[in-house]
Point group: C2
Chain length 220, copies 2
DNA sequence: CGGCAGATTGACCCTCATCAATCAAGGTGG
DNA sequence: CCACCTTGATTGATGAGGGTCAATCTGCCG
């Protein structure tokens, strides 16, 4: 989520290329740097002792990865490239030291962390209180907004992740994701062709969040 | 979650009493302080523009409230006392300034924030991938662990919140919470009497997390 | 061309939400 | 002190939403 702010760039050092499917870092690896995404996209994955695995977020160019590990010794989860990507490593030691001398940077770091908390909180709310349809709508709208904020089209874009990964993030099975995308298409809200999404009725899509049931309403 | 660390106490100033049902702070109110809980307990509540409401956490003596608002202008949610309680206000302005001069404090603040992210992440995993039974088990075990960490009994305690509030946190309806507590009792895992919980079979309760189905297994 | 990962769609069934009745506990006022 | 009311909890009946299993389809890459 968090944007790659100018202040952070001051510290930003070495670049690194990561190819589709490769790990940027592993859970448990020593934490030593934040990563600003210059190009491409990633997923964050968490896995529990009992073998459960869950996607905790998707991240695109302009966002910062690794915030959840600040203050820890080790990385809290895996980060995996969804396509060929490039990042800048921002050594946390440096950043930490610089932040001590530079209140503005310190405040910015707090803001980034708070943003991360905010992001997870939104997801909690989604997982705790929304139905499948609403989750998908919220997901698409969120993607749309973030892409637009980086200068891309808000209404037409490519999903960099599989239906299964989307499902994992949203607490749904891949079949459910697929079905609901089809339903949205049948309702004329979006057009789906493989991973290409076109939002046709933005307002109607927003209205999905909160509606009780799509089919037995007044209509038809 | 986060413990009330010694360093924070240096800054801690004025005390404040909050009675059961009263707000410690409101969503949207200007954020100016963290709150260390000295006695009692609270719930954090979030409500969305479309009127949804969700409990995002329960907090007990020794934990810090308001971390999610660090770096923001305004409080991100409501905090409401579950019983008569007492807190110490830790003015964030002071804390922030002091952190600049004191690397150890800065690092501690980062740790607290990271802990908050960790806490929410655990909840995300729970909401995204666990069934109702597992959620309840995880909830009880989490409470047990936190109480034990503060010197209370790990096996016998009082729930300070209603079934509905538990359900809200776990993404379940209050009836489901009630039913599953009854089921746990019938299975001999716990004893329930109103809000008093006694954990009878800790290992078995842990084993609930991960088991596929309780009733149509081999047995009977 | 074949093989494979990912996506779609259908049929069935389980978990949990919903609606509703009953019960227990606690507080209040007479 | 007891009757009354309110709030919270328990339990049952029923059904919908979404999970599971499985077949088929599509696009892509070797």
């Amino acid at each position: 989520m968090a944007a790659l702010e100018p202040l952070l760039m001051r510290v930003g050092g070495t670049r690194r290329r990561v190819r589709r499917g490769e790990y940027l870092f592993h859970a448990g690896a020593p934490f030593h740097a934040l990563h600003g995404i210059r190009a491409g996209s990633f997923k964050s994955v968490l896995l529990t002792e009992d073998g459960r695995e869950q996607v905790t977020g998707f991240h695109m160019a302009g966002e910062v990865l690794g915030l959840d590990s600040v203050g820890s010794e080790a990385c809290g989860g895996d980060a995996i490239a969804l396509e060929d990507s490039e990042v800048v490593e921002i050594p946390f030691e440096e950043l930490d030291a610089l932040a001590s001398r530079e209140p503005a940077l310190q405040r910015e770091l707090f803001k980034l962390l708070a943003g991360e908390i905010q992001r997870e909180r939104t997801l909690m709310l989604l997982l705790g209180s929304m139905r499948a349809e609403e989750r998908l709508a919220a997901f698409l709208l969120n993607l749309s907004k973030r892409l637009a904020a980086r200068g891309w089209s808000a209404t037409q874009f490519l999903l960099r992740m599989t239906r299964e990964e989307i499902g994992s993030l949203l607490g749904l099975k891949l079949e459910t994701v697929s079905r609901i995308l089809s339903r949205f298409q049948a309702e004329g809200l979006i057009a789906v062709r493989n991973r290409e999404i076109t939002i046709l009725e933005l307002c109607a899509l927003k209205a999905v969040i909160g509606r009780v049931d799509s089919r037995r309403e007044i209509g038809a």
